[in-house]
């Protein structure tokens, strides 16, 4: 009887301890989620105006070319992260994991430091670096004669002074994000590399494996779980891209919406046009994409566990 009493008190105590989180979770996650689902079936236009439209917002979304452009841009950025940012981060981690390299700590700090500066600061510096005439990038390309080479190859005078943020928006966003995120992802890969079983590497070496053999048969399989996690994290972050283009493109989607992302389109509709219903519908589509990605990750992780 007394044991039961202790247990029930423990249960009550557990709920009391959980209560602050639960209250916040209910107020700031569950309620907005339900409210946004309700809003997605409504149309709003300023305060006090709401009308039920059922699935119309989703139908309009599917037929909206600007939304598809936002999806395309967002996936281009996500693919850029996947195929450019993460390989560079991995290569850097490999280099910094080498015991032969001196001053590794300093390099780690240098590569990670853009994260410490913050996204807004990096965006502003990025905008300065990619300025048309005085920007560091164009000055460097000019000094190296690359601009002239590009003009000669493409026959297009625009390469003399490329306007990165007007003509090559997504490429510029990917390049600036490299600066910001490569160091961040590198830390994950570095941690994974440092936990690779040394005895496996020694065994591979004894079996005659070269650097590529060790990389392929020991290091890759060892860092695979972390890589899967980093890929998922990177994809989710990329699909939620907002601040970087918002700052760089001065709160618009850039020329001809070349830099419009899904979340920016959501923001435009919700806060510039006051159509919170349509914005909620965009939010739900994005949520479904993210849930899909998370499911793929769960499946991959389970498959790895089974194989292991």
């Amino acid at each position: 009887m007394s044991t039961g009493g202790v247990d029930s008190r423990r249960v009550v105590f557990s709920w009391v301890m959980l209560a602050p989180f639960l209250v916040l979770f209910l107020v700031f996650v569950v309620y907005p989620l339900i409210q946004s689902a309700f809003l997605a079936a409504n149309q709003t236009f300023g305060p006090g105006t709401r009308t039920f439209v059922g699935t119309k917002n989703f139908e309009l979304l599917i037929s909206d070319p600007v939304f598809w452009k936002a999806i395309r841009n967002t996936f281009i950025y996500a693919l850029g992260s996947l195929f450019v940012q993460l390989p560079i981060a991995f290569l850097l981690a490999l280099a910094l994991n080498s015991p032969k390299l001196r001053g590794r700590g300093i390099y780690r700090l240098i590569f990670f430091s853009p994260q410490l500066m913050g996204l807004v600061f990096v965006s502003i510096l990025g905008a300065l670096a990619f300025e048309k005439r005085a920007g560091l990038i164009n000055q460097a390309l000019d000094a190296a004669g690359i601009n002239d080479l590009l003009v000669w190859v493409t026959g297009n005078d625009a390469w003399l002074e490329p306007d990165w943020l007007q003509q090559h928006v997504m490429a510029t966003l990917i390049l600036i994000s490299l600066w910001l995120y490569v160091g961040f992802n590198m830390i994950y890969f570095l941690a994974a590399l440092q936990s690779v079983d040394k005895s496996l590497l020694e065994a591979a070496e004894i079996d005659g494996a070269g650097p590529w053999g060790k990389l392929r048969h020991v290091i890759f399989p060892s860092v695979k779980p972390v890589a899967t996690f980093v890929i998922l994290l990177s994809m989710i972050g990329s699909l939620q891209l907002f601040e970087l283009p918002y700052i760089l493109l001065e709160s618009s989607g850039g020329p001809d919406n070349k830099g419009l992302t899904i979340v920016m389109y959501l923001y435009q509709n919700g806060f510039d046009l006051g159509d919170l219903g349509f914005a909620s519908a965009i939010g739900w589509v994005l949520a479904l994409i993210l849930i899909g990605l998370a499911l793929v990750q769960v499946k991959l992780t389970r498959a790895q566990e089974v194989n292991a």
């Binding site: 009493g5 439209v53 001809d256 806060f271 510039d272 006051g274």
Partner: protein, 471 residues
């Protein structure tokens, strides 16, 4: 006794993490409870400009002391005001008693039916107190919906052309004789040589580019371009807009282009201004103080003149930017808020300081006789620039307050970009030859805006009403 022992045993079993959390909870609770809340004023006022706040502070202090009221002024960013104001309006929650709203944000507050707008309708009050006739009429348009005024205008923001008089006068060119853009560009053609052989003219007549949305809007307004009717219907695809778009894009394309893209805000842009890369700059009154602050090296080298017109006899000015003061409906003290609004926006002291500190002209016409506006400005070669701006103030074009205007202006900017790409791709650089393509692109913009509006059940009613009117 047994229960107490059991409780102690249960607590002893808790991890140290739980104890850390519990301790932090208790400490925070104590700190929150013992903290003395700051003394709040009777009214709240949100301002986005620290310069404005600095000007208002002494007047507010004086008014507070003589009336036994306290107005709390909070400076916050435009984005913060936007999100707080809109959250308040959408959620029906209290905001401030007075809010200073920037032009780009205000239309969002005007969404929906007129009676659902979050600000008080000031029209009747302005009429009763004779203020409506005292204010520069076109300056009311961005803050008006269906003929009702929802904010007190802070400024006029007429636009002139600031030009490098040191360079033009040294070359013997009297730009004041240029009445149209065509004449202006023709007069400056001799300065476009490339003496330093850097593959670009030493001086380009105008700082403007087809990607600068604000400047496109400014020039299109100057030329009587119109995106929306006063009642909110989109009229983007029209011949006048196509002519204007084709004209301004033609300035930026081809081997003989007469415009250059100089960043208006960056350090490199300021350096390029000093270097004289461009001769002319489109300059609203507020831009003068920006230049004085960021490009002091140009003091005594610039002059102002009315904008050259698109056609002989055409409008010689435009408008760019703006601010209003609104009183949200949630205020409990409307009368006091209105007193403050009048004090801050119609007092001669503030108007004088507004001009002296940030070169902004007051929209109150009765204050235009103030001698401060006649003072010569050494930055602009001792021109009486205040008087020059005032002479143009009544001519500024009307602007729409449609919540769809911002996106429509972005779409027009995209049309300009597409038109420039078309021009470069097809080597078509003449404005007249670009008009058919401009019409096609503006048709697309019109369709996009209409689609956006028709998506909204409420705006669609306006759209349908517009169709009815058109028929």
């Amino acid at each position: 006794m047994h229960r107490i022992t059991n409780t102690i045993l249960a607590l002893r079993g808790l991890s140290s993490g739980v104890w850390v959390i519990a301790t932090l909870f208790v400490i925070s609770l104590i700190l929150v409870l013992v903290r003395q809340p700051e003394q709040e004023g009777d009214l709240q006022f949100w301002v986005f400009s620290p310069e404005h706040a600095e000007m208002y502070a002494p007047l507010i202090e004086e008014h507070d002391a003589s009336h036994g009221v306290k107005l709390d002024m909070t400076v916050m960013s435009i984005a913060a005001i936007q999100s707080r104001m809109m959250s308040g309006f959408f959620g029906g929650l209290p905001t401030a008693d007075l809010i200073e709203v920037e032009k780009a944000v205000a239309p969002q507050a005007f969404m929906g039916p007129v009676d659902a707008i979050g600000f008080h309708d000031l029209t009747d009050l302005l009429l009763e107190e004779g203020l409506l006739t005292q204010l520069n009429e076109p300056s009311l348009s961005p803050w008006s919906v269906d003929g009702r005024v929802f904010g007190l205008p802070h400024d006029v923001h007429p636009v002139m052309l600031a030009y490098r008089a040191d360079i033009t006068e040294a070359a013997g060119i009297d730009l004041t004789l240029a009445e149209t853009w065509e004449e202006y560009f023709r007069m400056l053609r001799p300065l476009m040589e490339d003496k330093d052989n850097d593959a670009r003219p030493d001086h380009t007549p105008l700082s403007f580019w087809y990607t600068n949305q604000d400047l496109i809007e400014t020039l299109m307004l100057q030329g009587d371009g119109q995106l929306f009717t006063p009642s909110g219907q989109p009229v983007i695809a029209n011949e006048r807009n196509a002519f204007l778009l084709a004209t301004i894009v033609s300035w930026c394309v081809g081997p003989d282009r007469v415009a250059i893209d100089i960043n208006e805000w960056s350090a490199s842009g300021h350096q390029e201004k000093v270097d004289g890369l461009a001769i002319g700059y489109i300059a609203p009154d507020w831009m003068c103080s920006i230049w004085k602050m960021h490009v002091p090296g140009l003091e005594g080298k610039l002059k102002l003149m009315p904008l050259p017109a698109f056609e002989p006899g055409g409008r010689r000015t435009s408008v760019r930017g703006g601010t209003m003061l609104g009183i949200p409906k949630t205020t409990q003290q409307f009368d006091r808020a209105w007193d403050y609004a009048k004090l801050l926006y119609t007092s001669p002291e503030v108007a004088r300081q507004l001009y002296r500190e940030v070169d902004i002209i007051s929209p109150v016409r009765s204050l235009w006789d103030d001698p401060v506006y006649n003072e010569p400005d050494p930055y602009f070669m001792n021109q009486r620039k205040g008087r020059m701006y005032i002479e143009l103030a009544p001519e500024i074009p009307l602007r729409p307050s449609s919540p769809y205007n911002k996106q429509a202006a972005i779409d027009v900017r995209d049309a300009a970009l597409n038109l420039a790409e078309y021009a470069n791709r097809n080597s078509v650089y003449n404005a007249e030859d670009l008009i058919p393509e401009a019409i096609r692109l503006l048709d697309r913009v019109q369709a996009r805006v209409e689609q956006r509006m028709s998506r909204n059940a409420f705006a669609a009613e306006d759209l349908a009403a517009g169709d009815g009117e058109a028929q």
